[in-house]
């Protein structure tokens, strides 16, 4: 009897510790982020006039949302970015990380170079890529011409522009993914490789049998982070495509629409309902990932 009472007292004490240790972070996050988020849910059911005046509007915004052709096109565009950019970026990042996980000359220089896009000002990134892609004067078409290949209108052809943007997305995310994957590689115990080498396994076999499975938890983490990032893509498209643009319809993402509604045409209630849609999309995608991870992620 006494022992049980003691255990439950310890339990209660633990609760107290738990709550008080999470309190500062949770209160701060609750106050500065979750509370505004709840307000956004509420705002999604309002119609805004000028300067913060708003009226309750029920589900009007959602009716408009479901009927808005632009919204569904933007959702499709965003999915296209996710489907193309995320797997490719992760695959290239794995390759780079594996290459840079060895003792070679200039290792930290290489790593820094790959990390540069992550720390460079987005305005500079957009400017350079626009110049590279420029169909009349850009470097890319210039080089293609040297090989007598007809260049393309990389950023102004509605069919092509989304793919041109995907390339920049991949390019700018490799550095971040690489760092996390490098960390994952260091977490794989060296004894596995030694054992494999004694068995006479080659580099490729080692990669497939040890590196890849051992890396899956990290790959999963990188996948989730990239997925969330890609679903929220905005700045890059905004700066590279601009407004108005011939390719806007085929390139704009959901957050782009959100931005237009919130800050350009000042329909903050409608913008809030788009925000809720983004939230739902991210949630659904993350849950799908969580469910499928059991099939391919190997925990030690």
């Amino acid at each position: 009897m006494k022992a049980i009472a003691g255990r439950s007292r310890i339990k209660k004490e633990n609760w107290l510790w738990g709550y008080s240790m999470i309190a500062p972070a949770m209160l701060g996050i609750g106050f500065f982020f979750i509370w505004p988020m709840i307000q956004t849910f509420y705002f999604s059911m309002t119609r805004w006039g000028d300067f913060g005046t708003y009226k309750f509007a029920g589900f009007d915004n959602y009716h408009r949302l479901f009927a808005d052709h632009d919204v569904w096109k933007a959702v499709l565009n965003t999915f296209r970015y996710v489907v193309l950019a995320v797997p490719l970026s992760v695959a290239i990042s794995i390759l780079v990380a594996v290459m840079l996980n060895q003792k070679i000359k200039g290792l930290s220089l290489y790593r820094t170079l790959f990390f540069l896009p992550v720390i460079t000002m987005p305005a500079a990134v957009a400017m350079v890529w626009k110049w590279l892609y420029n169909s009349d004067y850009g470097l890319l078409n210039h080089m293609l011409n040297e090989f007598s290949i007809q260049g393309s209108r990389w950023l102004t052809d509605p069919q092509l522009a989304p793919y041109s943007i995907v390339v920049v997305m991949i390019w700018s995310s490799i550095g971040f993914n690489m760092v996390i994957l490098l960390a994952g590689l260091q977490g794989i115990s060296k004894t596995y490789y030694e054992a494999a080498r004694i068995d006479g396994a080659g580099v490729m076999a080692q990669f497939l049998r040890i590196t890849l499975p051992g890396l899956t938890p990290t790959v999963f983490f990188v996948f989730i982070i990239s997925l969330i990032g890609t679903l929220q893509v905005f700045d890059l498209i905004w700066m590279m495509v601009g407004n108005p643009s011939i390719v806007k319809f085929s390139t704009q993402s959901v957050v782009y629409l959100f931005y237009d509604a919130a800050f350009l045409t000042n329909e903050k209630g409608y913008a809030a309902s788009i925000a809720v849609l983004i939230f739902v999309l991210v949630m659904v995608m993350t849950i799908i990932q969580m469910v499928f991870q059991k099939k391919w992620v190997h925990y030690e």
Binding site: W15, W17, G18, Y19, M21, P24, A25, M26, G28, I29, F33, I34, P36, T40, F43, M99, L100, Q102, K103, I104, S108, R111, T112, F114, F115, L116, P117, I119, T120, M121, P122, A123, A124, M127, V128, W129, W131, Y137, G175, V179, I180, A183, Q186, K190, Y193, R197, V203, P217, T218, F221, Q232, V255, F258, Y259, A262, A275, I278, F279, V282, Y299
Partner: protein
């Protein structure tokens, strides 16, 4: 990984070639920024593009210092970043420890709520958060930028992963010695978590350094502006002076490059212990 022996030498040449080619592509924009920062305005907008400036225009760098209080921006950015790092490290590690090691009712629900914050685009908070700041009387202060950033859901998530990967034996024995949770956290977990804390520091610094929209909305007086906001001054209504913008960006960028160059080993080590579980 001392796996490399002499027989693999040729492969290393392939490796280096591949790396150099890839690194070259990563480097292009950076090189472009440097080249542009030395061009005259006419050279920077010329079509077809002029790659190398005829003469080096150092004036662009002087213009940056001349047109804006660049040193004040540095100070503000560093102060805000320092506050964010401090807050994030303390609050996130406390909460992360509790989420990883202490059982209490509602733990999972609270954690999911926390994670959901990560999934929402930042633009969503801006208006309600601005109203909160106004009610605090914090508009045009450094803390308006710094304080919300001190509470970081990503930090809690990252460090929780880290604590989960640590062995339980140490704390079990500490518990037997009569240590309470705060003592275990402070004496045992925090010292072990150093690499994780370094990783979180770098993530926080990176995010803080280039943040644009929020500081711009809450702070309008030049005395309280950050580097990223200050640089956006250079983007005018009718066209942008790219050479000066690039010179300014480079002047804002070098601390980050230095930070990454010196800390990258610890950085990777730090994430190594968090990302894998």
């Amino acid at each position: 990984m001392r796996a490399e022996n002499v027989s693999q030498k040729p492969k290393f040449w392939i490796l280096h070639t591949l790396l150099i080619v890839l690194a070259f592509f990563m480097l292009v924009p950076f090189a472009w920024m440097i080249l542009t920062s030395f061009k005259s305005l006419g050279e920077s907008v010329h079509v077809p593009v002029i790659v190398f400036p005829k003469s080096i225009h150092w004036d662009n760098y002087i213009d940056v210092l001349y047109t804006m209080p660049f040193l004040t921006f540095y100070f503000n950015t560093i102060a805000i970043t320092a506050l964010k790092v401090l807050g994030t490290l303390i609050f996130s590690s406390l909460a992360a420890y509790a989420f990883a090691r202490i059982e209490f009712p509602g733990r999972n629900v609270l954690f999911v709520i926390l994670i959901s914050v990560l999934m929402v685009p930042g633009q969503i908070y801006i208006l309600p958060l601005f109203l909160i700041m106004r009610d605090f009387g914090w508009l045009n202060t450094l803390q308006a930028v710094a304080v919300p950033g001190m509470f970081d859901a990503f930090g809690v998530f990252l460090l929780r992963q880290f604590f989960l990967s640590l062995m339980k034996e140490l704390e079990e024995s500490a518990k037997l010695d009569g240590c309470n949770h705060l003592q275990i956290y402070w004496r045992i977990m925090l010292p072990l978590a150093k690499p994780g804390l370094i990783a979180l520091t770098i993530f926080t610094v990176l995010a803080s350094w280039n943040e644009l929209l929020w500081p711009m909305i809450v702070n309008s007086s030049p005395a309280k502006m950050t580097l990223a906001v200050g640089l956006s001054w250079l983007q005018g209504r009718h066209g942008t002076n790219y050479p000066v913008l690039m010179a300014g960006s480079l002047m804002a960028l070098w601390p980050m490059v230095l930070l990454f160059l010196t800390l990258q080993k610890h950085f990777i080590e730090g994430i190594a212990m968090t990302g894998t579980k």
